[in-house]
């Protein structure tokens, strides 16, 4: 797990090496400029001033090793570590609610809100999806079944953020039920903040559930129908066990492990969509920060966010793996 994480980070860092370099170079140039502008140093004319600046910049590049080949492993590893510890310096455009402009603080302030939205939605769509999927698996070929496959096809081919825009159009603009901006109006220290937050969370949450439960239900149905065609189910049926019991206890338990993996991977994949969704709803989580940071070209924030979303993505996959072992008795034996 950690090996995979490290490998991925390594690839990411190699891909982003030039960005890192430019970032550091820019920081150094700014530093030198600031020192020169402070006025403690005296220059005869502007030529001397700029030559001093160039010299200082070159010296510092050399000192930090920025002039060398940037793929040198002695530099790559510290860089990976600095990303892993979020030692990314200051953001030039964003601050936390309490005024800190440290990249780590900014990102850690946003992550819980994304997790709140994403995990709530995941749990809800998981529960709805499993019940709906099991229900339609028992009634193969019925209208409900057809409706389920159609909704799965649609959730596969419709961009979730577009659905989000439609939801705002319907529920915020036309019906005035929910606010169109999901950023709560009251400040975090207010006692009503939690209620306000939940009220603003409703529309993004409903949208996330709508776009994902169809897919979950479809996966559940797919595996259940496979199991229902197996011999041992037929045997159980001849033994006189009720259809309901077979479906909910025997079939579902057997289909559990593959369902868990497939659904887990599908939900992990939908994480990216959830990030864009935040930008549409203005939900004050990572996605919104991403969107704003892209607009303002705030590279440290973007790198930090990429790392944290990689971690969240991997953790989701990891949990999926664990749940497979928990659900499958054969794996447990080992």
């Amino acid at each position: 797990m950690f090996l995979v994480l490290f490998a991925i980070l390594f690839i990411t860092v190699i891909l982003l090496n030039s960005a890192f370099n430019n970032l550091q170079k820019e920081a150094i140039i700014n530093q030198v400029n600031e020192e020169v502008n402070q006025g403690t140093l005296k220059f005869e004319n502007s030529a001397e001033r700029s030559s001093y600046k160039d010299k200082q910049i070159q010296l510092r590049f050399k000192a930090t090793g920025l002039d060398q080949d940037s793929l040198n492993p002695s530099k790559l590893i510290p860089r990976v570590i600095s990303v892993m510890t979020f030692d990314l310096g200051e953001s030039s455009f964003f601050t936390t609610d309490y005024g800190s402009s440290n990249v780590r603080d900014i990102i850690f302030e946003r992550v819980p809100k994304t997790l709140l939205l994403f995990t709530t939605a995941t749990i809800c769509s998981f529960v709805i999806g499993i019940f709906l999927g099991t229900y339609v698996a028992g009634k193969e070929g019925s209208w409900w079944d057809k409706f389920n496959s159609i909704s799965a096809i649609f959730s596969n081919s419709f961009p979730s953020w577009w659905i989000a825009m439609l939801m705002i159009l319907i529920f915020a603009f036309t019906l005035h039920i929910f606010p169109s901006r999901a950023t709560p109006l009251s400040s975090p220290s207010d006692p009503t903040y939690i209620a306000d937050l939940l009220y603003h969370m409703a529309l993004p949450l409903i949208t996330l559930i709508i776009v994902s439960f169809g897919g979950v239900a479809y996966i559940v149905r797919y595996f259940l129908i496979n199991i229902l065609n197996e011999d041992f189910i037929h045997a159980k049926r001849t033994m006189g066990i009720s259809r309901r019991k077979i479906l909910y206890s025997h079939a579902l338990r057997n289909a559990g492990p593959p369902i868990a993996t497939t659904v887990g991977l599908a939900l992990a994949a939908s994480f990216g969509g959830a990030i864009i969704l935040e930008a549409v709803f203005d939900w004050p989580g990572m996605g919104k920060l991403y969107y704003d940071a892209i607009g303002l070209y705030d590279v440290p924030i973007i790198i930090g966010l990429t790392f944290i979303s990689t971690v969240i993505f991997l953790v989701t996959i990891f949990i999926t793996d664990i749940s497979y072992t928990l659900l499958d008795p054969r794996v447990k034996g080992n």
Partner: protein, 458 residues
């Protein structure tokens, strides 16, 4: 096998729906250059090109429901009736435009545009509007600015908010039995004299140029009545005709989707076959690498890559390829793993054929039907991901893609302002295209994929 695939595709209802959607899209993109000017593609993001269109106008068919809004009118010289006469050395060119006013609301504004070439003596422009109730308003009478040098061409747009027009309107107060002070000129011009409402009927608007020498000539004359409805899909905040953007988006989306899916499946095919055919250690390592790529979060990394390396369309296609070959590689590998033990493959090997030859002559041809299915299945993901990138504002800025349209809509807060015609059509096009390929892919896969459970009917 290929024939069987095609027959199977056309026999299933979903296949036919998918094929006909794509056929329709291809037809639209083929006729696009014939029905809309190609210039609109290159000038998509230059505001000047769209200046004659109304701002944020709804589709014109919305007039079928509820009160009729004024439909945007843009007339140029070719729509005018020209009357030229000469009297005592003064030539008069009269451009007369006819407007049939049937809407229940007033136009947003009126713009008179002209372009005149003249020498020493500047011409005089007079604008008259004769109304259905036989009143004629002279709304503008002024000479053009003196020429700075010989034979300059002077172009201008006179807006209905112009001071001269405002003042001219005041002298017609006596025609109305209610106060018109404070009303905009475009409202007064189209108002009933007895009640503050639209006077329906045919209006004649004439732009009369008095030219004082022989070299002078009118190069361009036209009027624009700003409406609240326009075209099939309407316009956005930048006055662009959204129908044009939607149509240009079709070939781009198909190009991106097909290029990414064809190349990613080709990579996956090769990777999978090599892994499956070589098996053992090679397979093990190659599948590890595959898994690592699986564990990469696509969107965040794509965002970073486009930010760092730019968002040229070919670069984006390349980035999408990095994250899209794994699925087909995995499927192909598991089939190739079975195929390597097939007797004819083993026979070929025993005959001493090289690995490459076995792969290309005996294994890949058998996998082709499945490859076609995988290409179709991979298209929706490519289209959706590119749209997502464009939506985040990271798409190729020179191309009018659907994702780009939605990005602009979102930046302009179209959803909370209720501008549905800016949101629904582009998203619907993305969904429709993705859906079509999804249906085709699933139908093909059901025929060609040996691993697929035959009990399952999608």
């Amino acid at each position: 096998m290929q024939k069987e695939l095609l027959v199977g595709l056309l026999r299933s209802r979903r296949g036919i729906i998918g094929v006909s959607i794509i056929g329709f899209l291809l037809l639209l993109s083929a006729v696009a250059p014939l029905i809309i000017p190609i210039e609109s593609y290159f000038k998509w993001s230059s505001p000047n090109y769209w200046i004659n269109n109304p701002k944020t106008a709804a589709p014109s068919w919305t007039n079928f429901f509820g009160p009729k809004d004024f439909e945007h009118v843009s007339l140029d010289m070719s729509d005018a009736k020209v009357i030229s006469e000469s009297l005592e050395g003064i030539r008069t060119d009269n451009y007369r435009f006819e407007i049939n006013m049937q809407a229940d609301s007033f136009p947003d504004d009126i713009i008179f545009l002209y372009s005149v070439k003249y020498g020493d003596i500047p011409p005089v422009l007079q604008i008259d509007i004769s109304r259905p109730d036989n009143n004629t308003f002279t709304v503008y009478y002024s000479s053009l600015p003196p020429a700075s040098n010989m034979n300059t061409t002077f172009s201008d747009r006179i807006f209905s908010t112009n001071e001269i027009i405002r003042e001219a309107m005041n002298q017609y107060q006596s025609y109305f039995n209610y106060s018109i002070s404070g009303l905009e000129p475009q409202v007064v011009i189209f108002s009933d004299t007895t009640k503050p409402d639209v006077l329906k009927g045919v209006y004649q608007i004439s732009e009369r140029f008095f030219l004082f020498d022989n070299n002078s000539s009118v190069e361009e004359a036209g009027i624009i009545l700003g409406g609240k409805v326009f075209g099939i899909i309407g316009t956005d905040d930048l006055r662009r005709d959204l129908a044009v953007g939607i149509i240009w988006g079709i070939p781009i989306a198909l190009f991106i989707g097909l290029t990414v899916s064809i190349f990613s499946v080709a990579i996956g095919l090769f990777y999978g076959v090599v892994a499956g055919y070589r098996a053992k250690r090679t397979d093990e390592t190659m599948m590890r690498v595959n898994e690592i790529f699986y564990a990469l979060p696509t969107l965040p990394l794509l965002i970073l890559l486009t930010i760092i390396y730019g968002s040229n369309i070919f670069l984006i296609i390349g980035f999408l390829l990095i994250f899209s070959w794994m699925g087909s590689a995995k499927i192909i590998r598991s089939i190739a793993l079975q195929m390597r033990n097939f007797q004819y493959v083993e026979a070929a090997k025993l005959m001493g054929q090289s690995d490459l030859k076995v792969i290309f002559k005996h294994i890949i041809p058998q996998l082709l039907p499945l490859t076609f299915a995988s290409v179709a299945i991979a298209v929706p993901a490519a289209i959706l991901t590119e749209a997502a990138l464009s939506f985040l504002g990271l798409g190729d800025p020179s191309l009018p893609t659907w994702g780009q349209l939605l990005h602009e809509a979102n930046t302009a807060d179209a959803a909370s302002r209720g501008i549905w015609w800016w949101i629904v059509p582009p998203g619907l096009m993305i969904a429709l295209t993705a859906l079509a390929f999804f249906l085709i892919g699933n139908t093909l896969d059901a025929i060609a994929n040996p691993l697929r459970n035959k009990n399952q009917k999608l």
